[in-house]
């Protein structure tokens, strides 16, 4: 009986590996490879509370389960929204889902963007590619509480014009007088008269007070590295820079070991990290 003292302690025995079934309400094509699912919970549109930055494990029947950030509005929480880029077996299976189909959901998991800590400050969001999806809930939160923040800047880089996510919303946000929204593309093929170049190019021009800025970054790791460097160069403090990390995950609850990042488990301690907490391991290759 006494293998470990732990086993004797009372604990909650709900199996964290069991999915709940959600029904697909709508599938919207965002780009040629990216789509947004709106999902209704088992209790007909039951609320799904989450904090901006958190993710779910989504299960495609018989194919597999993958971590996907929640990209909907944390204020309304219904339906549950995920934006997914089809890159492999599971995400391609999800791309084929139709209205009425079932999808398994576990979550929400992980840490959140510090939207409360950023109150009273400038907020600078820098994202690349699908990285806009996990940041959209933070942006929604800020919009819903616009008076709580100073200047709000969103810098977004996509590969090409056709890879721009949430195009209509971006246009709408860009039209607001108290938001600075800039979009850039890596390469301009076809009709594009906007910014061309990596997203970091937008940083020097953006209007924010570095000393009073909280920066939220999500994108490919190299993009995050250079973004951090440029923000620090402008005088933003390390402790006010946040990044969302990505690693292979098989469980999201600290059992499977796949997402280890130094002494962190990205599923539990992340995915959102304060840069100063991971600074010493962030640059280490193949960690």
């Amino acid at each position: 009986m006494s293998i470990t003292e732990l086993a004797k302690e009372p604990m909650v025995l709900t199996d964290p590996m069991l999915p709940t079934w959600f029904r697909v309400q709508s599938v919207r094509r965002e780009t040629h490879d990216t789509f947004t699912l709106e999902l209704a919970g088992p209790n007909d549109g039951g609320e799904f509370s989450f904090a901006p930055g958190q993710f779910n494990m989504l299960y495609a029947f018989g194919v597999g389960e993958v971590p996907i950030s929640i990209s909907g509005n944390p204020v309304t929480t219904d339906p549950l929204v995920h934006t997914i880029r089809a890159v492999g077996a599971v995400t391609r299976a999800m791309q084929k889902l139709k209205r009425g189909d079932l999808i398994g959901v576990r979550g929400p998991f992980g840490s959140a963007w510090p939207v409360m800590d950023a109150v009273g400050r400038d907020v600078v969001i820098v994202t690349g590619g699908i990285g806009l999806a996990p940041l959209r809930p933070a942006f929604y939160h800020i919009l819903a509480h616009r008076n709580d923040y100073n200047r709000v800047v969103l810098l977004y880089g996509a590969r090409t014009r056709d890879d721009i996510l949430y195009r209509d919303e971006l246009k709408q946000w860009r039209g607001e007088l108290d938001l600075e929204v800039e979009v850039t593309v890596d390469s301009s093929v076809g009709r594009w008269r906007g910014n061309v170049g990596v997203v970091t190019k937008l940083i020097p021009r953006a209007g924010f007070d570095p000393e009073n800025t909280t920066a939220l970054i999500c994108g490919p790791e190299v993009m995050m590295r250079f973004t951090i460097q440029d923000l620090l160069n402008r005088g933003v403090e390390k402790k006010n820079v946040y990044v969302s990390m990505e690693r292979n995950m098989k469980c999201a609850v600290g059992f499977c070991g796949h997402c280890q990042f130094g002494s962190k488990f990205i599923c539990r301690d992340g995915p959102v990290f304060r840069f100063s907490d991971i600074e010493d391991i962030f640059g280490i290759r193949e960690l």
Binding site: I3, L13, D15, E65, R247, G254, C256, L287
Partner: protein, 387 residues
């Protein structure tokens, strides 16, 4: 239990009584599992009586080598550890997590983890008790609890054994995990084999342990029996083949991520994952999703995985740890270093299995010493522009 008093054997039993004790466990519904010989190695499997144990056998181990040898006496526990560890029962190498059936609009999910067999683990060594406690922290020590692990560990009975000898690859003494069992057992034995005398000194670690012991013939332990345990354990410590200097070990490994030693190890390491399979604390797993032909019945399985496999760190675009160097570094730094940050203890208990079962004789104790000898200043790679 009073805390400062070291536990002492209170009773003494003989081999017949030990057989009776196994009988009691069986009659109480336990499946009794202990060491036995299979394919020229000592493994854990179901046993009926003490005859099933590797009676009179011992093991000779060294880096990359293992063989069984006759002892010339009738010792029941005169060997150390084989390739199996108890995680095989507590965290099975393949386990169905759930199954689901889809029928038109309906979907029904059946979780696993119904009634589990209760198991009695026989001849659990000190390092293994530590390993179990360490692995339990992963599965039942955080806000998320693996219910099947919980049931298995809660329902297990542990009959521990103090090691009467150490193998050449053992280094539990330096890891503070043995060779004397120091808690976490129901009953603990010390085998005494001295000429015609063949007895087992018994320490009681739990109420159920006391109950089970109460069902068999035993005599009161004398003061000299207690000294006997001390002598046997001291002798085992003196034989210990290897050791690790654990001073500052976590930081040592973390600040040496760029040490050239990792490249040298990588030249030998086959990335075969043997070390992670035999390690009693390694807990990494993957999941596998399968469907039947109709496509309406699906199952999810969990299987042991290893940080040495290529796929382990795959994310779109490639592996995070594509080199063998980075995988070995991850394994060893985790075991001896970052494990402390995550779970408040070392992930290595010094059982030596990874050394014995490495096909190319890579030795974690030697490698950590080599890192220490060749300590370099932190060399975080500079940011390169241009991506």
């Amino acid at each position: 239990m009073s805390s400062c008093d070291t536990k002492r054997p209170s009773r003494v039993i003989d081999r017949n009584a030990l057989d009776d004790l196994l009988g009691t466990l069986r009659s109480r519904g336990y499946t009794v599992i202990g060491p036995r010989i299979c394919d020229q190695a000592i493994v854990y499997d179901e046993i009926q009586t003490t005859d099933d144990l590797p009676v009179g056998w011992t093991d000779e181990q060294d880096a990359g080598s293992y063989r069984l040898k006759k002892r010339g006496d009738d010792a029941l526990f005169g060997y150390v550890l084989g390739p199996h560890s108890w995680k095989k029962y507590l965290f099975p190498s393949a386990q169905r997590l759930w199954q689901v059936t889809r029928d038109g609009e309906d979907i029904s999910l059946s979780p696993e983890g119904g009634e589990e067999v209760n198991r009695a683990f026989i001849a659990v060594r000190a390092c293994e008790l530590h390993a179990m406690a360490i692995q339990a922290k992963v599965f039942i020590g955080s806000e998320f609890v693996d219910p099947t692990y919980h049931v298995r560990s809660k329902n297990a009975f542990t009959l521990a054994v103090n090691c009467g000898q150490a193998g050449k690859t053992c280094f539990c003494a330096s890891m503070n995990t043995g060779p004397r069992v120091d808690g976490g057992f129901d009953l603990a034995l010390t085998e005494v084999l001295d000429g015609a005398r063949h007895e087992f000194l018994v320490e009681v670690g739990s109420e159920i342990g006391a109950e089970v012991l109460g069902t068999v013939d035993s005599r009161e332990a004398r003061l000299e029996d207690q000294h006997t345990v001390d002598d046997i354990v001291a002798n085992t410590v003196a034989q210990m083949g290897r050791s690790v200097d654990t001073a500052d070990i976590g930081d040592l490994l973390k600040r040496n991520h760029a040490n050239a030693k990792w490249d040298e190890i990588a030249e030998r390491c086959l990335s075969c994952a043997n070390c992670t399979m035999v390690c009693p604390t390694c807990f990494c797993s993957t999941v596998e999703d399968v469907t039947d032909l109709s496509g309406n019945h699906a199952e999810r399985w969990r299987r042991w995985d290893s940080c040495f496999t290529m796929d382990f760190s795959y994310i779109a675009g490639g592996q995070v740890r594509s080199s063998t160097k980075s995988r070995y570094r991850q394994w060893m730094t985790h075991k001896l270093g970052t494990w402390h940050d995550q779970f408040g203890a070392s992930g290595c208990v010094g059982c030596g299995r990874c050394i014995t079962w490495c096909p190319v004789a890579i030795d974690i104790t030697e490698e950590v010493a080599a890192i220490r000898r060749t300590e370099v200043e932190d060399a975080t790679e500079p940011l390169k522009r241009g991506a």
